[in-house]
């Protein structure tokens, strides 16, 4: 376990335990504690990584494996946006306000545990903690849709946990130890070990089910649509990434796919990634509800990350990490905006919303930036990460996959253009007449995230050198 980053795990856990006691008298103290903890953590990370001296020498003095720090920073950023948004969004008389913030703090601690561990069983333990907090967060309000989404998430991801544990027991049998380093040693030594690959295939299948790739995506739309509004942003922005996609990425860096070890597993992962891109993009075309459409678009983008992870060359891993970070930023913006739309206009049905730009300009423009970045329009950040993935595929020889990935990106772009024109621009509908712009506190996190999207897109060279450093440290 990365000892230096242990504090990022312990402090949110400590805050989670303190919140119920502190908030007994004044309920708003829970919000303040949660936000201050996350802000302090983020400031500390920014000092570690973004000082001018560190940037100037090419990020070589960043401690440990650069990937853990990057993901811890992303976790804190998304969670800070969600808690800041919830401070204003939660109704005054909500009885489980302190439990909500405690659960978000515990899930942040669990996610930091996931990205800093170096052992498969510890990874499993923290992912189960994350799943348990997600069940309760999805049903924070007393809606039937929430409980339905949570029950589907519970029963459809439990088989994945069972598969991961069976894979771990096979690893215990054939490898003798459950740490990442022992797996890397065995795979790098060039001796193909059939049962070890079989155990890893079971573990990878379990994590693919947890990330919501096709054909195991039945829980994803219901969980996102039914969840309480800020929780959809938390879930879609960071939780499904860390609980499924991160593990597949880590496994692909350990398994040495680029040198041709385990070709069956690599080919299978790439095929499922491509299938997710296709099904997600096509199903998003038919949706009428904004949140459900976002859920299918999430499935499609996760497909890109899985496709690149299956390939395993250094350029593909860089593209996958970059796309993971980008996708977290745009989905946070989009889900938080859909929560604003729901609060202000009362509906998320795309047929009924029209011409929202006239009455909610900030919400509309930030959503437009996030949607354009998802579709891959230059110079926003989404363009660069998709370009890296398609280039990596083309370079390695998978020309059909590269062409198909590009094609579906164009389909997504066309659909988003049409949808934006109808929902945000275009003539005013009855819904837009009666919905005022939401308050400043709800807009601030969205504006900050959109600024991050634009900044990462424009400052791409710095970001690329950081991710290149990470890839070097992983592969050498």
């Amino acid at each position: 376990m990365d000892k230096g980053l242990l504090a990022y795990l312990l402090i949110p856990l400590f805050t989670a335990v303190v919140i119920p006691f502190a908030a007994r008298r004044r309920a708003k103290l829970a919000d303040i504690l949660a936000n201050v903890t996350l802000l302090a953590g983020l400031a500390n990370l920014a000092w570690l990584v973004l000082r001018p001296s560190v940037i100037a020498d090419g990020f070589t003095s960043v401690p440990g494996d650069g990937l853990s720090i990057l993901l811890v920073g992303l976790i804190y950023l998304v969670a800070l946006c969600v808690t800041f948004f919830s401070a204003e969004f939660l109704p005054e008389e909500m009885p489980n306000r302190s439990a909500y913030y405690s659960l978000i703090m515990v899930s942040v601690a669990a996610m930091c545990g996931v990205v800093t561990t170096s052992d498969f069983f510890t990874l499993y333990v923290f992912i189960e903690v994350l799943a348990v907090t997600s069940f309760a967060l999805i049903t924070t309000d007393d809606s039937r849709a929430g409980v339905e989404g949570a029950l589907k998430y519970f029963f459809l991801t439990f088989p994945a946990s069972a598969l991961i544990m069976i894979g771990i027991s096979l690893l215990l049998l054939t490898l003798g130890s459950l740490s990442y380093d022992s797996l890397r040693l065995v795979m790098a030594s060039g001796i193909p070990s059939g049962p070890v690959v079989f155990g890893m295939a079971l573990i990878t299948l379990g994590f693919l089910i947890k990330s919501g790739v096709v054909p195991f995506h039945a829980w994803t739309p219901d969980a996102y649509q039914g969840a309480y509004a800020p929780v959809s942003a938390h879930l879609g922005g960071i939780v499904t990434k860390i609980s499924g996609v991160y593990a597949v990425l880590k496994i692909s860096t350990l398994m040495n796919f680029a040198e041709g070890m385990a070709p069956g597993l690599s080919g299978g992962i790439m095929f499922l990634g491509m299938l997710s891109i296709a099904v997600g993009a096509l199903a998003a075309l038919k949706q009428k509800d904004f949140k459900r459409m976002l859920a299918f678009s999430s499935i499609s983008q996760v497909g890109y990350i899985i496709l690149a992870a299956g390939l395993g060359t250094p350029l593909a891993i860089i593209g996958a990490i970059f796309h993971l970070v980008n996708h977290a930023t745009f989905k946070t913006v989009l889900f938080l905006n859909s929560a604003s739309l729901e609060k202000s206009a009362g509906t998320t049905d795309m047929e009924k919303l029209g011409g929202m730009e006239h009455s909610m300009p900030w919400t509309s423009w930030t959503s437009v930036i996030a949607l354009l970045s998802t579709a891959g329009v230059p110079p926003l950040s989404g363009f660069w990460s998709k370009l890296l993935i398609i280039l990596a595929l083309w370079q390695y020889g998978f020309k059909t996959y590269a062409v198909l990935a590009l094609l579906f990106s164009i389909v997504t772009l066309a659909y988003f253009m049409l949808m934006q024109k109808k929902v945000f621009f275009g003539k005013k509908s009855a819904a837009s007449e009666r919905s005022p712009e939401v308050s400043c506190a709800l807009l601030t996190p969205v504006i900050v995230m959109s600024a991050v999207i634009v900044a990462v897109g424009l400052l791409f060279p710095y970001f690329y050198s950081y991710v290149w450093m990470v890839a070097e440290r992983i592969f050498l």
Partner: protein, 101 residues
């Protein structure tokens, strides 16, 4: 030791029963029972693998942690079940189709 192959055969039977119960039952409590049976099977698999490779201490450490996780997961599942019953009066998972789109 040809204990191992027979043990894992029985474990495979237990896993089949558990997964079948999760798929085919209509009451949520019965699905939780299937979930529990699957967990028992997996625990036996881990200990059996540890016994064969003389690694019982590590296997026992894993199983102890797994039992703690399983208790909290079952408690969360039962809490969701009770909340569902309060809100909609049903305990039948195949009738949950309010979110269609």
């Amino acid at each position: 030791m040809n204990f191992f192959a027979f043990d894992w055969y029985f474990i495979a039977l237990l896993l089949f029963i558990g997964f079948y119960a999760m798929l085919a039952s209509s009451s949520i409590i019965r699905q939780l029972i299937g979930l529990e049976i699957v967990s028992k099977g997996v625990m036996l698999a881990v200990i059996s693998a540890g016994a064969l490779t003389n690694n019982l201490q590590l296997a026992q450490a894993i199983v102890i942690t797994m039992i703690v996780i399983e208790v909290v997961v079952v408690a969360a599942g039962l809490a969701l079940l009770v909340k569902n019953h309060r809100l909609s009066g049903l305990a039948d998972i195949w009738k949950l189709n309010g979110l269609k789109g």
